[in-house]
Subunit: 189 residues, 2 copies
DNA sequence: GTCTATAGGGGGATAGAC
DNA sequence: GTCTATCCCCCTATAGAC
């Protein structure tokens, strides 16, 4: 019955994620976060010493989140196509809020980030690609999915279609993203 | 015999383009450009009143550049696959310098840009997509290319593979980009 | 845990001399 | 066309009171 009180630290993470997806990492400030949460600059620094620490925490969140998804998919009765759809859905949601995937956003700012962050992002990407790759491989083995390329290559094609698809949608409209999404699903049948 | 002297204005455009592709629009300053060209801050402002004017000039350059490519392709004896390859080559070159396509870079910063710039970027994207779409349509008609989707959708799939492919390569290495590139070419046969 | 106040630096941009 | 000098703003970050 208890609604867990979202503390400030979680709120900062939530807003930070939104800002990265909407404006980009180098285009928002602690002051922006503070204004949004109606607290002061210094309070944000209390929870995350510096902006890089906030970014790192967000990346850790994503890693945990995908680990959770991995467990859910492993224990689910979904067919391969349904599992792939779980990944696609995450991108479809972004479009509706004019936002882009955090990996794509960070990729643009990549050369401005410290090595520690770069390394962790690399791990996140490998993890996500690995999950998609494995799902594709299993689906092919069971005869549920059909594609010519290696599972790794197919995973790369799908994830790049999605990542740049939401970037494109922000500029040219959601219709283009929808065309991509439908084509992806059709291709695997 | 005369080697045209590259004046400062052209040099600024050259460096500005590099910085956008390497660091992102919101992550470099006029001071960075000035340092690179061994001139002062104010000299850059003389050639481009503000940073947005520089960005707009770069977008105009891209539009002209693609118009030139369109003319070249129209008058060439290249088969459809060869024409598509001209687009792919542009992205392959980016990988080697740890850079990403300017459209992808700008897409990340999109919500921080003034409306005038947004509108022009939209036109640039439509132009490039239109060129690829038309090339695909002609190739299919002549029996040189084979794909199931509409030319527009196929163009979207190819361009998003390339745009996010170079973003990915910057983080996970060029091997992934190469896998994408080869798969794209193979898919069309 | 949040505040006020502030340090220190960098950003975009302009005026006016040369 | 480039310079020096400067303005004003916002940024990241910290110290110390509450």
């Amino acid at each position: 019955m208890s609604i867990r009180t979202t503390d400030t630290k979680e709120e900062i993470l939530r807003i930070g994620k939104q800002f990265i997806q909407y404006y980009g990492y180098n285009a928002f400030s602690y002051a922006d976060i503070a204004r949004e949460l109606k607290i002061k600059n210094a309070a944000v620094h209390y929870h995350f010493r510096g902006k890089e620490d906030l970014l790192m925490a967000l990346i850790e969140n994503y890693i945990q989140n995908y680990q959770l998804l991995a467990q859910q998919l492993e224990g689910s009765k979904l067919k391969a196509a349904g599992k792939i759809n779980k990944f696609i859905e995450r991108y479809t949601g972004l479009c509706d809020s004019d936002s882009i995937c955090i990996i794509g956003s960070i990729a643009s700012d990549y050369n401005t980030l410290p090595e520690s962050v770069k390394a962790r992002i690399s791990e996140l990407i490998e993890m996500v690609l690995g999950m998609v790759e494995q799902t594709l491989a299993e689906g092919k083995k069971k005869g549920e999915l059909h594609f010519e390329e290696s599972p790794r290559t197919r995973a790369l094609l799908i994830m790049t279609n999605l990542a740049a698809g939401v970037q494109l949608a922000r500029i040219s409209g959601k219709a283009d993203y929808e065309a991509i999404r439908k084509a992806l699903i059709k291709q695997l049948k």
